[in-house]
Structure formats: C-alpha cells, structure tokens
C-alpha cells in the first residue's frame, strides 16, 4: 500500500515538472535555417518573423519523435489562428522514407529536408528529437531534448507567453 501511495505521489510530482524540461536558451544568435520542404518549396526562418516558431529536428527511426508527433499536431490545432508554426526538420532521410512515415503518422505541419545535415550541424543537434522554441523576433528562447506531450497546458502556456513581445 505504501508503495502504491509512493508511486502515485511520484506520478503527481512528475506531471507538472514536464514543462521544466524546456531549458532557457543561454547561447548565442539563432543559426540560419533555409531548407526546402517535401514539395521542394524553399523556407527561410526569416519568413516566419512575427510568429513563435518551434524548430524541431526529428527522424522517422526515432521512437520518441514518433510518440510525440500526435501531440504536436494537437498543439498546432489548439493554437490555430495564433502566431505559431512548427517547422519539423528531418535529419537527412529520403523523401520516400518521410512519405511512407506520413502514411502511418498524421503530421500536417511543415516538414523541411536537411539532406546533407547542414542545419543539424549549424544548430548543434546531437540527438533526436531536439526542439527549439523561438520568439516572434526569431530569437531562440527555449530548447528541449527528447520527446514531450506538446499540448500539455504547461507547454501551451510557455508558447503562448512567447507570442507576446516583451
């Protein structure tokens, strides 16, 4: 019984701590990001000034990426109409690999192709998934390593805060 109470207590303690996985950015300027999407359309980070941007590096072979994708879709629909966009940067896989993956996992946000790993190197990404939250001015404000339930209230609150310029 004691063990059960301890376990439940741990669950409660862990839940609100989730958003703490977001690490305030203490690094330098935002690296450049200029990549094509799956249709070959070029995207530049500058195109998204005025919006909060989640830049996420991911891969189809990464289990935490697969797990968190549905919550990212929910997050985007939850913030629909607000200045928020997800740019999911794929880590060097082929278009076919991504299209096959899209048949299994619903992900209607923008997927960018980092074919030669240039963005990954510039953004210093060592594990998948790695996420960066940028404010409306294009400055990195938070980073996160690993997967998350992105539509959890704590994350929505943090992202909403970034929509208001300071």
């Amino acid at each position: 019984m004691k063990r059960l109470i301890f376990f439940i207590s741990c669950l409660f303690l862990l839940a609100p701590a989730q958003a703490l996985d977001l690490k305030p950015w203490k690094g330098g300027p935002t690296p450049p990001l200029a990549l094509n999407d799956l249709n070959g359309k070029p995207h530049k980070l500058e195109d998204y000034r005025g919006k909060v941007v989640m830049v996420q590096f991911w891969a189809t072979y990464c289990p935490p990426c697969i797990k968190e994708m549905p919550s990212m879709v929910r997050l985007e629909s939850r913030l629909a109409g607000k200045p928020f966009v997800i740019l999911a940067v794929n880590m060097g896989e082929t278009k076919n690999e991504i299209l096959d993956f899209q048949k299994k996992v619903n992900m209607d946000f923008t997927v960018l192709m980092d074919n030669d790993g240039e963005a990954l190197a510039a953004w210093k990404v060592f594990v998948a998934p790695s996420s960066f939250l940028l404010d409306t001015q294009g400055n990195i404000r938070y980073t996160m390593q690993g997967g998350a339930d992105w539509d959890a209230p704590e994350y929505v609150a943090k992202i909403s805060e970034l929509m208001t310029p300071k």
């Binding site: 060097g92 953004w123 060592f126 980073t143």
Partner: protein, 253 residues
C-alpha cells in the same frame, strides 16, 4: 583400435588449439572480482575480446562469436556487468572499473599468446578505451604490439549528454586514446552526422582512426526490438564486419 582413435582425436585437438591450451572459464582480478567468460576457440592468431554494451549484443554476441570462431578468430566475452551485479544499461558502463578492463586485456594477451582486438558498442566504449589506455601505459613496447586496436559500434563518447544548440564535449579518453580505432555507425542515427567530428577528436590523441557508415540501419541495429529487413541482414553480417575492421586496424598499425 579405440585407443588409437582416441589418441588421434586428442592429437588433432591439440594441433588445432595453439599451444594445446584451453580458454579459461573466468578471470580472477587483483580486486578479487571473478569475471566469467564465454569463450569460442578459434585456430587463428587473433583473439577478439567482446565487451558488454549498454544496449547489449544479446543473443547476437554468441551467434557472431561462434561464426567468427569458425572462421578462425577466437572470441572471449567477459561478463563485466554481471560480475559486478550491474544491469544492462548505459549508466552501468560508468561503473565498470577500467583497471579491471586493463587486467582482462593483460590476461587475454598472456594466456592466449594471440594478438587481441577489442570490440564494444555504445557507452561501453568509455571503460574499454580507458582500460586499454591503462594497459598500454604499463605494457612494454614489445607487448603493446599485441593489442591490434578497438572496434566501436555506435560509440557514445560524450562527456555528458549534449544539449541542443550546445557544442558537444567528448570524454577525455577520446583524446587520450592512441591505438588504432575503427568505428561503425548506423546511417539512420544522429551520430552519423557527427562521426567526422568524433574522428577529429580521436586524432588529437594520435589514434589512427577509420570508420564506415552502415547503410539503412539504426545505431543499435543488432539489438533492435523491431528490426527492419535491412537491420536483420546487417546483423547477420556482424562477423564479416568485424573481420573487415580487423584488417583495417592491422593495416593502419
């Protein structure tokens, strides 16, 4: 007649096994730890010391070692984790005493009389390279030639798990390693993009380093719970990959 046959069989065995010796079932360390060994005798002059890893080569360890032994490469698999009651996990790797790894290398070199190559994966690379460093520092120039080098599958050699946007820092053993090293990295892994970066770090210590990206497989393809057809095929090729890497290591010495 029966006695003659028995004698012939015994003689054949003795001839097939260098010096007529039998591989040990365990190794006693100076710390008192008894490290159990799985051994796969081979008739060649090279011994593979296959160390535990955080993801575990699992059943593949034995299968690949058996196949390698058939090709003449003797294989010893010391159970460094089990000997310390450590679970198969990345965090356990930090608790393997490098001193014991050095002793295992020493005993393997002396008992077998063969040239030794080290094989490990993931975070296992840290204690194995540390142990090799200790052994090399103690060995005489003649003895050092007995260590061919190390083959690392998807090594995790960061000092701490690198945070997004922050320059990765490697464990100091990378720059302290001076023996030949061969790295296999799965194409479908973030580590593939940082392989050249890691190789530069290795060259700081004087290591002759070579590598190969394995196409269409993940980092831990050999222990994947959900292997793809390509990963199954690559796992079947592990003995061939190890033999190829040994050739490369020998060529760089």
């Amino acid at each position: 007649m029966t006695i003659f046959r028995l004698f012939s069989f015994g003689l054949a065995l003795a001839l097939c096994t260098p010096s007529g010796w039998a591989a040990p079932a365990s190794m006693r360390m100076s710390t008192g730890t008894e490290i159990s060994l799985r051994t796969f005798p081979g008739v060649g002059n090279t011994l593979m010391l296959g160390f535990p890893c955080d993801e575990g080569l699992g059943a593949q360890e034995a299968r690949s070692s058996q196949a390698l032994a058939g090709l003449g490469l003797e294989a010893w698999l010391p159970d460094m984790l089990g000997s310390h009651g450590l679970p198969v996990a990345s965090s356990s790797m930090e608790q393997i005493p490098p001193e014991e790894v050095a002793e295992v290398i020493d005993q393997a070199v002396k008992q077998s009389g063969k040239r030794v190559v080290l094989v490990t994966t993931g975070r296992g690379a840290v204690p194995i390279l540390q142990g090799a460093r200790i052994w090399l520092d103690r060995a005489s120039p003649q003895e050092r030639a007995a260590l061919i080098g190390a083959i690392l599958f998807s090594p995790d050699l960061y000092s701490v798990k690198p945070a997004p946007g922050v320059e990765a820092r490697y464990h100091k053993i990378v720059a302290q390693t001076s023996m030949p090293v061969f790295i296999y990295q799965g194409q479908r892994s973030p580590g593939r993009w940082w392989l050249e970066h890691l190789k530069v770090e290795f060259t700081r210590g004087g290591s002759k380093i070579s590598s190969k990206v394995l196409p269409n497989v993940r980092g831990f393809f050999y222990s994947a719970q959900d292997p793809t057809d390509e990963e199954r095929a690559m796992t079947d090729r592990l003995p061939e990959l190890i033999l190829d890497a040994i050739k490369q290591l020998e060529a760089t010495q």
